[in-house]
Amino acid sequence: MTLIKLLIQPTLETIYMVVLSSLFALAIGLIIGILLYLTPKNGLYPKPLLYSVLDGVVNVLRSFPFIILMILLFPLSRVVVGTTIGTTATIIPLAIGAAPFVGRVVENALKEVDDGTIEAVVAMGATHWQLVTKALLPEALPSLILGMSLTVINIIGYSAMAGAIGGGGLGDLAIRFGFHRFQTDVMIAAVAVIILLVQGTQWIGNFAAGRILAKRSS
């Protein structure tokens, strides 16, 4: 019983961190991904300079080990949230760390959309905005959902790492009890909850994408 009591608060903290940072990462990543898709030299809206900059920034950010990125982003957390400790402060580095990944996920999902379909929509006189919002994103929705569940799973992993540097949540619990106090049972319980969260996320993603694909084809 005490073990369960011990788990409740950190689990809620982890969910809070993961949900909010996923939403922010999705918002930023969607914009990045759409631009990465549209702006290459042979893209639908060629802006080669913008593309090169964006592509470079995404690669650089993705090369950072997450824990280093987090330390580097502490000043930003201090400006936005007022502190660098705790779950809320962790949301900012989590979101920024995951956004470039989401950008690539979105870019790749859009690249899968059939060229002929795009040509047909352009031939109808659609604007770029209409093409993106009414054709590309809906067509790519199943891939976007699967990519997003991958992102959320990454963020769950990152959020556990953030626990090591004062981020709170299940990672923090596992490290404090398992590593500092040698209470292996608490550590195992915390890891078990993380596994459940990851499994649950993957299941929801697969289910939602599968439902949409089934509706569209059978």
């Binding site: 002929g116 040509e119 047909a120 031939a123 109808m124 054709a135 809906p138 569209r216």
Partner: protein, 235 residues
């Protein structure tokens, strides 16, 4: 109606050499005509038909539609013109994320037509192509012929004067091909559509076209008028 004047287009190939897709093409297509362009793959017919709705911009020359030059207008103006030109494709190119009804509504939605009006027009169009009972199906649930009918309804949604057909029957079996051709002929009669079609299927082109241009290596080598076609249809 559609006037090509000295259309020239080159493509830069992967090896750096230029490929002459179209050279000095001049041609006039009349209102209400079904005009066919035949030629081998790579001959330039696909590029030529795409200059009509600005999907390809020629390096030189003009494409005039009702005296408006498609090659020299702003993107905004081009988009407006495109709503006057429907297009159908070999691969149908329907949106898999939308139902039959949603696909036909698409051009009207992007044109800002109000909901009630869209409903009304979509119903009319789907009845015209005899697919009203499939309105809530997704393209993935339809046969090739049904998909092409949806694509035709979609292409006609914004009441265009011109319909472009890019190998529209090449992926269909002979029987379905006949029903699609019949539909195109009916639409021309009823709506006064001007239809430009490209195909490598000579027999089919002879069946429906008023005139057929043959294109080889980016040049038109002959234009042939097909006689007695209207008699055959009404018989």
């Amino acid at each position: 109606m559609i006037k090509f004047q000295n259309i020239t287009k080159k493509f830069r190939q992967a090896n750096g050499a230029d490929f002459q897709a179209l050279s000095q093409i001049s041609l006039e297509i009349e209102k209400g005509e079904i005009f066919g362009i035949v030629g081998k793959s790579g001959a330039g017919k696909s590029t030529l038909i795409r200059t009509i709705n600005g999907l390809e911009r020629p390096d030189q020359g003009e494409v005039l539609i009702n005296d408006a030059d498609m090659t020299r207008m702003t993107l905004q103006a081009l988009r407006k013109q495109r709503r006057n030109i429907g297009m159908i494709f070999q691969g149908f190119n329907l949106l898999s994320s939308r139902t039959v009804r949603g696909n036909v509504a698409f051009p009207l939605e992007i044109d800002g037509v109000d909901k009630a009006e869209i409903e009304r027009r979509v119903e009319g169009l789907l009845k015209e192509v005899e697919l009203w009972e499939k309105r809530d199906s997704y393209p993935g649930q339809l046969s090739g012929g049904q998909k092409q009918r949806v694509a035709i309804a979609r292409a006609l949604a914004s009441n265009p004067e011109i319909l472009l057909s890019d190998e529209a029957t090449s992926a269909l079996d002979p029987e379905t091909t006949q029903s699609i051709l019949k539909l195109l002929l009916k639409l021309r009669e009823q709506r006064g559509l001007t239809i430009v079609m490209i195909s490598h299927q000579h027999d089919i082109m002879h069946q429906v076209c008023d005139r057929i241009a043959t294109i080889e290596n980016g040049e038109i080598t002959s234009i042939q008028a097909i006689k007695n076609y209207r008699k055959e249809v009404s018989a």
